[in-house]
Amino acid sequence: MSRASVELDFFGMEKQNCCKSRFQKSLDRRLSFRGLQGALSKVNPELIKSVIASGLKNPQGQDNVYQMDSNKSFSVPSSPKETQSLFPALPLLTPAARATSENGPETAPLTIFYNGTVSVFNVPRDKAESILKLAVEVEGNSKNVEPIDSKVASPPSDRQQLLETLNGDLPIARRKSLQRFLEKRKERMTCASPYAC
C-alpha cells in the first residue's frame, strides 16, 4: 500500500534531526570525534611535528611539544586500530572546537592520538587546518600508507575465488509457495489420479 508521507515540521527543524533519536544524535557527535582521530591517526606524528616546526612562529613552540608516556596515556580501547580505520571519511571537526578561547594567530593545543600514544601540539589555527587537510589527503590517496588494517584490500586472486564460489552458492531464489506449486504441477502431470478433496 503506498502512502504519501507528510512531513510535520513544527518548529522549522531540519528533517533529518527530527527523525533521529537523541541517542542517534549523540552517537553521531561521538563518531565525528572519532573521525578526526581516525584521519589523523593515519599520518605519522613525526611528519606532523616537522610540518609544525617549519611553520611555527612561536620560538617556544618546540618546548611545548611533548609526548606522553604510553603508560600515562588515556585508556584507549583494546583494539583502536580496527575502530579507527572504520571511519575514513566522516566530517572532521575543526580544531577550533577544541581550542581555548584564543583565536586568530594565537596558538591552541592540538591533540593527536596515534598508536596508543598521545601527542599535543600548540599550533595556530591556519596551520592546524593545513594539517587536517594533509591528513585527509594522505588517507584518501594511498591505502598502502595504512600500517594498521591488513584486511582492507584483499589480493585480487582471493576475491576472484570468492566470486566463483558465490556464483555457485547462490541460485535464484524462489518463494516457497511458488516452489510448492511447481512441484505439485509436476506431480499432476506425472500422476494419473487427482488429489482427494
Partner: protein
Amino acid sequence: MGENYNELKKSTASQTGLTDVVLGWVMLYIDDPEDRSAVSLVCRRWYELDALTRKHITVALCYTTSPERLRRRFPHLESLKLKGKPRAAMFDMIPEDWGGYVTPWVKEIAENLTCLKSVHFRRMIVNDSDLEVLGRSRGEVLRCLKLDKCSGFSTDGLLHVGRLCRQLRTLFLEDSSIIEKDGRWIHEIAMNNSVLETLNFYMTDLVKVSFEDLQLIARNCRNLVSVKISDCEILDLVGFFHAAAVLEEFNGGSFYDQPDGYAAVTFPSRLCRLGLTYMGKNEMPIVFPFAPLFKELDLLYALLDTEDHCLLIQRCPNLEVLKTRNVIGDRGLEVVARSCKQLKRLRIEADAEEEGMEDEGLVSQTGLMALAQGCLKLEHLAVYVSDITNASLEYIGTYLKNMCDFRLVLLDQKERITDLPLDKGVRALLRGCGKLRRFALHLRPGGLTDAGLGYIGKYSWNIRWMLLGYVGESDAGLLEFSKGCPKLQKLEIGGCFFSEHALAAAMIRLTSLRYLWVLGYRELSQSSRDLLAMTRLFWNIELVPARRVVKTDRVGEVVVVEHPGHLLAYYSLEGPRIDFPDLIFRLNYQRISLYRSISL
C-alpha cells in the same frame, strides 16, 4: 477515551496555545506511522499524548523490543502487527526454529492489552496453546486474527479460535504451515460465527475442509466478501457460490479432468477479484463473463500459456492488480499495456527453469518498455526478466512516476545479456521514480559497476527498504553507496563480495539503517577481527553458518540443498536474544565504551 479526557483536561495550554484536549483530538486523525513518530519526538507531553492515542503499531522485528516495553508505552493499543523471521524465510533460507515465538507477546496481550482487537503475526512461530490463551482472553473482542506465513500450530489450535473468537471479521492463515488433524475447526466457525467478512487459508495444505461447512459459512455470514481457500474441487463449490451473495473475492479451488466440464459453475454477481488454481485453457472461458469487472487477477497458480494470457487479459480493462508467472511473455505484457490502463500492481514470478526455454514464455526489455508506456498508474512492479537493457529502465523512470515499489531479478538462463552494466538505466529509473520507497535489484556479476552502486546510494532519497543482489564490483562501491540512502532502514544484500570491513563501515554511514541482512556470508573463523568492528551498543548481530539440508520433495526424491551462511544485524532495545537455536552464533561483542577515548 474516558479517563484520558480528564487527564488531558487537567494540564494547561501548551506553548502552541492548544490545550491537550484539542491536541489529543487532532492526533486521532494522524495515522501515518512516520508522522506519528515525528509527533512523539516534539516534547514529552506530545510523546505522552501520542502514546495514549496511537491505535496501531507494527513491530518490524519482534526482537527489537519486548512485550512489556510495548505495553508500557502504548497501553491502549487496538491493533498490533508483529514480524518475526527475516524475509528470506519466504525463500526457504532460514532454519525453521530460528525464532520469532509469539508466546511472550500473547501472554502480554492476554494480561494487559485490554483494548486489542486486531492481531497480525507474520513469519512467526505460533503454538496451539498460544491460540487457546488468545481465544480465552481476547476471544470476545477480537475482530481480526492474521497468522501470516506462520508455523508451529495445528488445526487443534484453530479449533480454539473457532470456538472462542466468535466476533471475528477476518481470519487470515495464508501461506502458514499448519499440521492438519481434521476439519472440525471450519465447522466450529460455521456454527459460531455470523459476522465473518474475510476467510483466508490460501496456500495452506489443508485438505480436510468440507465444502459443506464452507457453504454454511456463506449462508450464515451475510457480509462474507473475501474467501481464499486451499485446493478443493471447484464443482463442489457450486453450492457455496450460490450462497455467497455478496462475495467479491475468491482464490483457490482446483480443477481436475471432469467429463462434463465446468459449465455448471456460476459465480456470485459481484465477483471482481479472482484466482483459480490449476485453471487451464479449457476452463478459462468460465470466467470470461466476469472479465470486464475484474480488478484483481491471480494467475500465479493457473496453467495458462502465453496465448491464453493474451486472450484473457485483453478482456480486462479494469484490472488493477495482476499476478502471474513469466509465461505471460513479452507478448502478454504488450496486451497488458494496451488493455489495462488502470493497472496499479504487477507481479511476474519466474516459472520453473525447464519451462522457460522457449522465447515466448520469457519477459525482457521489450515487455517492460511496452508496459512503461501503457500502464502509467503502475505503483508496484516486481518482475523476473531473462534479458534487460538500460533503455527499458530509462523508460520506467520516464513514464512510471507513481512507482513506489520496484523489484527486478535478472534470471541466469541466458548467458549473454543484451546491455550490461545497467548503471545508466538504474540512475534514470531512480531519478525518475521519485516516490520509490522499496527497491530490489538482483543481477549478476558485471550487472552494475561500483559507479552504478554509487548512483543507487545517491538517488534513493526516499527508499526505506532495499534488496541488492550481485551489484557493484568492490568495497569502493559499497562505501560510495553508503554515503547516500538517507532513509534506508532495512537493507538485504546477497551474492555481493564486500568485505566485512566495508560492511561495517557502510552500516555506520547509513544513518537510518536499523536492519541488515547479508547472504553468502563467509565463515566466522576467517575474519573475526573485522567482524568485531561491526559491533556497537544496541546492535544485535547473529550469524547462521552455511549448512546442508537434506530433504525429500513431494515426489519422494531426496534432495540436498546447500544453504549459504548469512548474517543478520539489527537494533534492539532488549539486548541479545536468548531463544535462538544452537545453529546461530551470536557475536560476542565487547561493550566498547564510546566515552573514554574522547575525553581530553
